[in-house]
């Protein structure tokens, strides 16, 4: 064979001892044979080309080729390359695949961070007290971005009331529509003038409530919200307050005195009213509504 000729122009002999031959150009113009067979396979262990005359072995998982002498295999047995082998070793560890097989796919995200047994203990504690009112409080740090996870949390634990701070919401109807959870009614106090902040409450639809703006107006520069939730009878009313403070808006020392002021206006009056209602049960207590 004349090696100086170009690859495609080379003549290929039919027989070693005759002149009859065919040319690769004829095959190339047929159109269905790739003229470029690609690089020769590299050994996955030593990174050198595996030549045709060198004994080689294929990985049983990824089919990468390797020199037989690099694998140090003595017999012609099944062989795994180093990459596949490390994956394989991982799967031999206990609890490998545990997350992906035993839970819903949407649990995976949470169970990465939350211990599963821990979750169950919280859930059983809540269901054990299912005749009591369950209240969740969370610093949400932007409702928009984490609303999906939050609604999953509510779906899992079914809290009757959830109070939120740092909702970062604005008075925007579309935004407020986005953070609706079916079965819950919501009430928000948003910070419109500057970013951050904001408080909000989710309540199950079956819980009637009344927002007490009069209490909120006692300290207008506080970020707080007060809801009056009516109970089974007059003296089992619940006053629910959500209070948030950030150092940027109100400094600690000012805040604490105003907080004292606020509580002194709210607590004795609220408890006093309940006591009054209590003594008037059976009588005409309608003017205490």
């Amino acid at each position: 064979m004349k090696n100086k000729r170009r690859y495609l122009g080379a003549k290929i002999n039919h027989y070693p001892n005759s002149d009859s031959s065919f040319q690769l150009t004829r095959i190339a113009i047929s159109g269905d044979v790739s003229p470029n067979p690609g690089p020769a396979p590299k050994c996955s262990s030593c990174d050198k080309t595996v030549r045709k005359n060198q004994p080689s072995v294929n990985c049983t998982m990824c089919y990468n080729m390797s020199h037989t002498k690099c694998t140090k295999l003595e017999t012609d047995s099944a062989w795994l390359c180093s990459t596949c082998n490390s994956v394989n070793l991982l799967s031999a560890l206990p609890f490998y695949n545990e997350v992906s097989t035993s839970h819903h796919p949407w649990d995976c995200e949470l169970s990465n961070i939350v211990d599963v047994t821990d979750t169950n203990s919280h859930l059983s504690a809540i269901t054990a007290n299912s005749n009591h009112l369950s209240i969740l409080d969370l610093n949400a740090q932007s409702m928009c971005s984490t609303f999906g996870e939050f609604s999953l949390l509510m779906n899992d634990y079914k809290f009757e009331i959830a109070t939120l701070s740092e909702t970062w919401l604005k008075e925007n109807p579309l935004l407020l529509q986005h953070v609706c959870i079916p079965g819950y009614q919501l009430s928000f106090r948003n910070r419109d003038k500057c970013k951050g902040g904001g408080v909000g409450v989710y309540l199950k639809e079956c819980i009637p409530f009344k927002r007490r703006k009069d209490i909120e107006n006692l300290q207008p520069d506080f970020e707080h919200m007060w809801l009056e939730i009516s109970g089974k009878n007059k003296n089992s009313k619940l006053l629910l307050g959500v209070v948030y403070r950030s150092d940027m808006i109100v400094p600690e020392r000012d805040w604490i005195e105003k907080f004292d002021d606020l509580l002194s206006n709210v607590v004795p009056r609220w408890e006093g009213m309940l006591v009054q209602c209590c003594t008037q049960v059976g009588g005409n207590a309608s003017h205490y509504k």
């Binding site: 821990d118 504690a125 610093n139 634990y157 619940l238 805040w255 509580l263 607590v267 609220w270 408890e271």
Partner: protein, 87 residues
């Protein structure tokens, strides 16, 4: 019944801090109890108890704990079940 959930950036783990003492004093003077005892915000360098659950009387709260909130925020959620006769 009176329940307040407060997130006021006062770390109750700093028991000697004057602000904490004043805060607890105020709550105490109105007969209020704060129920959360575990840290609610844990970073690699610090632990702080800054999310509070306050009610007027101790015996109304049957259970309270801290619920890890996962990827929602760097604060844990606090929850409580209270014996309130809500319809």
């Amino acid at each position: 019944m009176l329940a307040i959930t407060s997130d006021v950036n006062i770390n109750l783990l700093n028991k000697e801090d004057t602000i904490v003492l004043r805060y607890m004093d105020i709550l105490h003077s109105f007969g209020l109890t704060q129920h959360i005892t575990k840290p609610t915000r844990i970073t690699p360098t610090s632990k702080s108890l800054i999310d509070h659950f306050i009610t007027i009387t101790l015996h109304n709260v049957s259970h309270s704990d801290v619920l890890p909130s996962g990827c929602i925020s760097d604060h844990a959620a606090v929850y409580a079940t209270i014996n309130a006769r809500i319809s």
